[in-house]
Amino acid sequence: MPELLQFLLSGITVGAVYALVALGFTIIYNASDVVNFAQGEFVMLGGMITFFAHAAGLPLPLAALIAIIVTAGIGVALNKLAIEPARGAPVVSLIIITIGASIFIRGATQLVFDKQIHRFPAFSGDQPILIGGATILPQSLWVIAGALAVFVCLWLFFTRTLIGRAVLATANNRVAAQLVGINTNYVMTLSFAMSAAIGALAGVLVTPITLTSYDVGLALALKGFAAAMLGGMGNPKGALVGGLLLGILEAMTAGYISSQYKDAAAFVVILAVLFAMPQGLFGRKSTDRV
């Protein structure tokens, strides 16, 4: 039993990171219909910039804040320089543009920083906490709390604020949103900034546990994409549940079946879900317009 609990706890920790990446996907997808394969690079940037700012002598909270702000700026630049000029391009082109952006960011990071693996200290020490025979790192609690806080904030933002509703309106119908006076360009900028900031936050939270280097982004992007798909593209609740489910599933596979195939389990389940429910767990059924 403690074994099961242990796998569950580590699964939820990893799942919370996937959920954060998936939430970032969801925001950009909602605003622009683009799946941003560079989402994982935001997580990488969050960790790397924090490490180097911290190593330069800044206190950790300030370093983390700088990392999140810089990454948000990079997200906005990505939108302005690469996504907006390509508006209306087919899905294949958009996939290649965002993958190109992800390779570009990776290349730039390895030039600006380095190719080493880095870690900065955990926020509340490394003393594991005992829960019913299983242990959890204090940093894991930070990760889980971070994911939940981001989810609640996003939910409040989209349902309770005017600008949040403007984002939803833009997602629904760009032209109609413009007609009722919504500044859709501002909405796009905001969405990319938020998405990148959430990615960077995930990087800041998880680096003390999983470490970071210039090339960790792609794997995270694929898992986050899969989590978003699992929950249903464009649905924040789906992103959260999809991310957590994926994390737990991986941990269980690694624990009970084979640690080599833990990544396989995720994709097997996603294929199964897509075959049975092509719109994901929480996705709405869509109809084609002719």
Partner: protein
């Protein structure tokens, strides 16, 4: 006499392949050339899937992996000749594409992308994890094809790199010829119709699910043969051949040159294959440049390099 666009394409391709060696200063260029042809073959398959049928796959390297490992494993375990092993790999790829394609191709856009991506990752994971069979991430040796020795016996003596340049060039021309024939066949018309609008195609009696599957299976066979050629040429293979980045490279080559045109896609393969070779001097800038090229071409030349340039030239002539 006016040549059809099909004959023109094949002539240009064959002429470039035949004449280029005149300008090669060293055997290294033959090696790069044959790599271009091997990639070009896989990309020609993707032209059928992406350019003709309008479907996407981020997992085609999986089929290249099956073709490559068939050439490595079948001669050892089944005692097959490497050439037969390549055929077996192609058949296996076709069968797997048929089984996987049926449920996957019901999905559209990003959902299709993630499903095919998942398939590719599963294949590469099996290849790197079943180490007692495949040698794991370290890879494994592939036996000699033996065709060069046969040629030598009848008086054609080619160096190893020359032979592979000529052989993969020949296979590429055959592959391009088949793809162009397909374009003008009833199947090709059905594929283009469902690319334009699935509903419209269905209304005029096109079995959409069937034709999508046909395109998927054919492109899988192209990828598989390309993987086999790569394995036989290198005489060594690692699971990277089935990896996600290889899938992405293949799709990028196709779209970069112009996924709607066989010649364009092969040009894309040529550019992306030579780029890393040229950039070895600036190795630390390689990723930066690759990412930049991918973004710039997709933003400024949406139809891909060759169609965009062709349109510009035609526009000026008028």
């Amino acid at each position: 006499m006016r040549l059809s666009s099909k004959a023109t394409t094949l002539l240009i391709l064959a002429a470039v392949i035949a004449i280029a060696p005149v300008f090669f200063p060293s055997s290294y260029y033959f090696r790069v050339g044959s790599l271009i042809f091997v990639n070009g073959l896989a990309v020609t398959g993707l032209v059928i899937l992406i350019g003709y049928a309008g479907q996407i796959s981020l997992g085609h390297a999986g089929f290249a992996g099956i073709g490559a490992y068939a050439c490595a494993l079948a001669p050892v375990h089944l005692g097959l000749h490497p050439a037969l092993a390549a055929v077996l790999g192609a058949l296996l790829s076709a069968a797997i594409a048929f089984l996987v394609g049926r449920p996957i191709l019901r999905l559209k856009g990003y959902y299709l992308a993630v499903a095919s991506l998942g398939f590719g990752i599963l294949v590469s994971m099996v290849l790197s994890n079943e180490a007692q069979l495949t040698g794991g991430p370290d890879g494994m040796a592939v036996p000699e094809l033996g065709l060069r020795a046969v040629l030598k016996a009848i008086g054609i003596d080619l160096s190893n790199t020359e032979f592979w340049y000529a052989f993969s060039g020949l296979v590429l021309v055959i592959g391009a010829w088949l793809a162009l024939n397909l374009y003008h066949s009833p199947t090709g018309r059905a594929l283009r119709a469902l690319h334009g609008s699935e509903v419209a195609a269905r209304t005029v009696g096109v079995d959409v699910a069937h034709y999508k599957l046909v395109a998927f299976v054919i492109s899988a066979v192209y990828a598989s043969v390309s993987g086999s050629l790569l394995a036989l040429q290198n005489k060594f293979i690692t699971p990277d051949v089935a990896g996600f980045m290889h899938s992405i490279e293949m799709v990028t080559m196709a779209v970069l040159g112009g996924a709607g045109s066989v010649l364009g896609a092969i040009l894309g393969a040529a550019i992306l294959t030579t780029l890393p070779q040229v950039l070895t001097v600036f190795q630390q800038y390689e990723q930066l440049m690759l990412g930049l090229v991918m973004m710039l071409v997709m933003i400024f030349m949406r139809a891909g390099l060759l169609p965009s340039i062709a349109r510009r030239i035609r526009g000026r002539a008028e």
